[in-house]
């Protein structure tokens, strides 16, 4: 049987293949490299692979192509989401330069690359099968990544993620089956058929599909998994998960609501999603208030931030899509930056707690995710504290950051699209969130505060010692966080929103 795929078809999905191949190379290189070099080789190959992907993706921006009979659409919209995934990949990979054990680094980097492959496929997926393929690739790699740490919470995190995410996938898959039954096609473009409005199968299928999406986006009431999973997973994995998963799922959701619904039923069909987004903005921000762990706090923050992005999408206007992308990009930089700060702090704590016999406590890998680590940071590490302040201000939506402009753009577009009530929820949510973000800022700059001694802490957990490791790759995390900070501020003054995002399907 001759498969009638042209070389153009393969060119369109090359960006998704590069990280996959880079992952394999990392594993092979790890077998060859000496113990001292493992970290450099894995991170070097991973970062190079991600960078090459970024270049290839960028070339496709102005050349939309409909490959594999509408299974994967490259260019335009896809490019933008792919670039966000690549940024998330880069920003998370470099965190392995600061923390994590060398013994596992190759596996972690490879899994993260494969996971990114899944997200890249989701960004361009235009039929139900490709969507599911991308989603499962993304999730399977993440289940393993979540468990890769010597902590009980990591295993809890992995198991919880596996079970709940599989449940969500089941919903999604069932929804897809019903959609297929209703439309007789797996192409998203084929659902733009007015005859489907009368089909109960289509309505049920769309609802199941939306529930699956809401689960993956951790919208209320399907949000309970995300704080636990984020808390247990290793820091770089949490950073990746918080951005790349959201980017991938949002790409699918945007394509679904913009291009795969029969005209005129968006308002009715998607109302539950908008209500869930509104509640998420409140619940996420209220949930943040009591947290003492940065990763949990950012998990709740993520629940609310997805609500903001969905507010932009409500009304399914072209402008709204652009602002959703703008805000997602801003959120990517702010979140990656905040995680980079946490990673640098953890690396710091490691350097300070060399144990007798030159061991290092891996327990301190998570030092930066405890909020107590930030007491007095303004005096000890002024630049680090200033960067963290910028990221937190951005998440709270204060100037001079992209979070401020993103919020006003979302307010404007949702008001314009007739979803002013969502804008009101956005305002309320933001007002609540201020306390949580500013609490960390206050902790950093308050007079007299200081971080707890980590040395004793490390001795108490002496069993967790490891081989001595030099972490000369911490500068990578520094570069990442500086670039994120510059991007967050610069995006305020040069608000580039992609103009070439529609149409989404052919």
């Amino acid at each position: 049987m001759i498969i009638p795929f042209s070389s153009n078809d393969w060119n369109a999905v090359i960006p998704a293949f590069i990280p996959a191949v880079a992952g394999l190379l990392v594993l092979i290189a790890d077998l060859i490299a000496g113990a001292q070099l493992k970290r450099y080789v894995a991170i070097g190959l991973g970062v190079a692979g991600a960078a090459v992907t970024g270049v290839f993706v960028l070339q496709q921006y102005n050349h939309p192509y409909n490959s594999f009979f509408g299974g994967f659409i490259s260019g335009g919209f896809t490019t933008v989401f792919e670039e966000i995934v690549v940024l998330a990949l880069l920003g998370s990979l470099v965190l392995y330069g600061a923390i994590g054990s060398s013994g596992r680094i190759a596996g972690s980097v490879a899994l993260m690359l494969w996971s990114a492959t899944g997200a890249l496929i989701m960004a361009g997926a235009a039929n139900l099968m490709t969507i599911f393929l991308g989603l499962e690739l993304l999730s399977l790699a993440l289940y393993c990544l979540c468990g890769l740490a010597d902590r009980a919470t990591a295993r809890e995190s992995a198991l919880k993620y596996l079970i709940l995410s599989s449940t969500a996938s089941a919903f999604l898959l069932f929804g897809m089956a019903l959609l297929f039954g209703a439309g007789g096609s797996v192409q998203l473009a084929d659902f733009v058929n007015p005859a489907l409005v009368a089909s109960p199968l289509f309505w049920m299928g769309s609802c199941m599909f939306s529930i699956g999406i809401a689960f993956k986006l951790s919208l209320v009431p399907f949000h309970a998994w995300s704080p636990d999973v984020y808390e247990g997973a290793p820091l770089p994995v949490t950073a990746f998960m918080s951005v790349a998963t959201k980017a991938g799922v949002l790409a699918v959701f945007a394509r679904f609501i913009y291009a795969a619904l029969p005209g005129g039923i968006e308002a009715k069909l998607l109302l539950p999603i908008w209500i869930a987004a509104a509640i998420s903005m409140i619940v996420g921000n209220v949930g943040m208030l009591a947290q003492r762990d940065l990763k949990r706090l950012l998990a709740y923050s993520g629940i609310a931030q997805v609500g903001y992005i969905l507010t932009a999408l409500a009304g399914t206007t072209a402008l709204g899509l652009r602002y959703a992308i703008y805000y997602l990009a801003a959120y990517t930089f702010m979140n990656l930056g905040a995680f980079a700060v946490a990673a640098v702090l953890s690396a710091d704590a490691r350097a300070r707690t060399v144990l007798p016999g030159n061991g290092v406590s891996l327990e301190n890998d998570e030092f930066g995710s405890s909020l107590t680590a930030y007491s007095g940071l303004g005096r000890r590490r002024p630049v680090l504290a200033a960067m963290m302040t910028i990221f937190l201000l951005g998440l709270a939506g204060l100037p001079p950051t992209a979070g401020f402009l993103g919020k006003i753009l979302i307010l404007a577009s949702s008001t314009n699209a007739g979803y002013a009530w969502l804008a009101v929820f956005l305002i309320l949510g933001t007002a609540i969130s201020l306390y949580a973000y500013a609490k960390i800022i206050r902790e950093m700059y308050i007079a007299g505060g200081d971080a707890p001694l980590t040395r004793q802490h490390a001795r108490a957990n002496g069993a967790m010692t490891h081989q001595q490791e030099q972490h000369s790759l911490v500068p990578l995390a520094w570069i990442s966080l500086i670039l994120c900070g510059v991007a967050v501020v610069a995006m305020t003054f040069y608000p580039l929103t992609p103009s070439n995002v529609l149409p989404l399907v052919k």
Partner: protein, 495 residues
């Protein structure tokens, strides 16, 4: 030149943060004071400058458009003077950081008052909360002060943001301050509500004032001098430059509510000020009272009252900055702010007493000083507009003002000398230099009010004519030369 004016303090502030930790605070002080002096010169030089840098074209046009309006020019002058004084008066631990924050605050407030674009105004509005918040968490007396300040004002900032976004969507552009564009339709009341809430919180006006007394009494004197003298005027400036220009119908419709709120603030502030023991709280509540009077003036829709409001905004900015700086000196010398523990300082410190005397007299409205001009013009205008009850009511707090200001001055400077108070030298020349420009300006306004009353109101004329329920005094007929952009503007001159 405008861009230099706005960016210079911020850049210097960042450089100050990067200075080595062991650099002496005096260098920071000298640098900060020089920068503040330069901004004063630049503000005057850039009076007619205009700068416009494109920012957004969707969903509405927005630009970094800066130019001083006739009102904001005077507020900016007060801002630079207050910042200059505040930096010279800084004597806290970690001086360098506080000076840097003061410069950042100056930059952000320059953005607010020079912005011709509503979105830039909103940006500056949120931006100016940050230096004060950082100051409160670092130097504030209680943790809750910082929260109260930040959460109240951030809530105001958010409603402002919402109103700005809705405004932009409806009008298609936010680059409009200084022009006029009526906003009507089903959204207009909500836009007005959003702006009004933000402005009332910032001013503050009863019952949204509860963040103000702890903030004013609990933060370091240099910061509170700038906040009380200029930041609190942002709300009033917003009512004039945004509320009156774009939403005059709603301003008129709900004028009664605002006049009553202003009247309550006016009386409530004065009465509470009379009962306070903390000297900074006395001035804080007197601010509430004075700003209530300005609010009444703005909402009486009378050109004369509005002119008075502008003079009083400037005068209040000057005397409240001077009062807080001087009370800061006293607190730092004697270690207490309690009126009952102070007394008799005037005999040993004649210069300090003299300076405080001028500031307090200006606050209570002594003729010959800035405060009086504002009060008398406002009262005349309010009376003229037909709000006779408000004009009469406003007389009572003015009498009370004399009582609490004299109580403040006498409690500190006169009376029996309190034994056991540490003896200190009188005002040093640097401390004197900090307040001298403020006091000189007060005297200048007092003897030469025409400078402020007679200013060119071209871009402001539409506002006044929209607001004038009663005919404005001596309106000149429209002349061809009076409009910069069109013939619709009229010149209002008060002689």
């Amino acid at each position: 030149m405008l861009l230099t004016l706005i960016l210079l303090p911020a850049l210097v502030a960042v450089l100050l943060f990067f200075m080595p930790k062991n650099t002496s605070g005096s260098i920071g002080k000298a640098v900060g004071a020089i920068v503040a002096a330069i901004t004063f010169v630049l503000a005057i030089a850039a009076r007619n400058d205009e700068i416009r840098i494109h920012w957004l074209s969707r969903p509405f046009d927005a630009a970094f458009h800066f130019a001083a309006t006739p009102i904001s020019f005077w507020i900016v002058i007060v801002l630079t003077l207050a910042t200059f004084g505040a930096i010279l008066a800084t004597d806290e631990r970690d001086r360098r950081s506080l000076i840097a924050l003061l410069l950042l605050l100056e930059s952000s407030m320059l953005v607010v008052f020079l912005a011709r674009d509503l979105l830039v105004f909103a940006l500056g509005w949120d931006l100016m909360l940050l230096p004060v918040f950082f100051c409160l968490i670092r130097w504030g007396e209680h943790a809750h002060t910082a929260w109260r300040y930040f959460i109240y004002n951030f809530a105001g900032g958010l409603t402002l943001l919402f109103a700005t976004a809705a405004f932009g969507v409806i009008h298609g552009s936010t680059d409009i301050i200084g022009s006029s564009a009526h906003i009507v339709g089903s959204w207009a009341p909500w836009i007005f509500a959003g702006f009004a809430f933000a402005f009332l919180v910032k001013t503050p006006v009863w019952p949204l004032h509860t963040w103000m007394p702890p903030t004013y009494s609990g933060s370091p004197p240099p910061m509170v001098a700038v906040v009380s003298s200029v930041q609190s005027k942002a709300g009033l400036y917003g009512f004039i430059a945004i509320g009156a220009a774009f939403l005059p119908d709603y301003m008129k419709q709900y004028a009664g509510v605002f006049v009553v709120l202003g009247a309550i603030s006016l009386v409530y502030g004065a009465v509470i000020a009379l009962t306070q023991n903390d000297v900074k709280r006395i001035v804080a509540y007197s601010s509430l009272s004075h700003l209530g009077l300005i609010l009444i003036a703005i909402f009486s829709f009378n050109a004369l009252a509005l002119q008075g409001a502008i003079v009083y905004i400037v005068a209040h900015g000057l005397f409240s900055a001077a009062l807080f700086l001087l009370l800061g000196y006293i607190e730092q010398r004697e270690g207490t702010r309690s009126l009952s523990q102070l007394g008799g300082l005037g005999y040993a410190n004649p210069r300090l007493a003299g300076a405080l005397c001028i500031a307090a007299l200006a606050a209570l409205g002594l003729p010959g000083l800035g405060g009086f001009v504002g009060e008398i013009v406002i009262l005349t205008g309010v009376y003229q507009s037909g709000l006779i009850w408000a004009a009469v009511l406003a007389l009572i707090p003015i009498v009370i003002a004399a009582a609490y200001m004299l109580r403040l001055f006498q409690g500190i400077m006169n009376g029996p000398e309190v034994k056991g108070l540490p003896q200190h030298h009188d005002l040093t020349w640097i401390e004197g230099l900090a307040v001298a420009p403020l006091l000189a300006a007060l005297v200048l306004i007092g003897v030469q009010p025409k400078m402020l009353l007679n200013f060119d109101t071209r871009s402001f004329a539409t506002t006044v004519s929209q607001l004038s329920v009663t005919p404005a005094p001596r309106l000149r007929p429209p002349s061809a030369s009076s409009g910069r952009r069109g013939g619709m503007r009229r010149e209002v001159v008060f002689k």
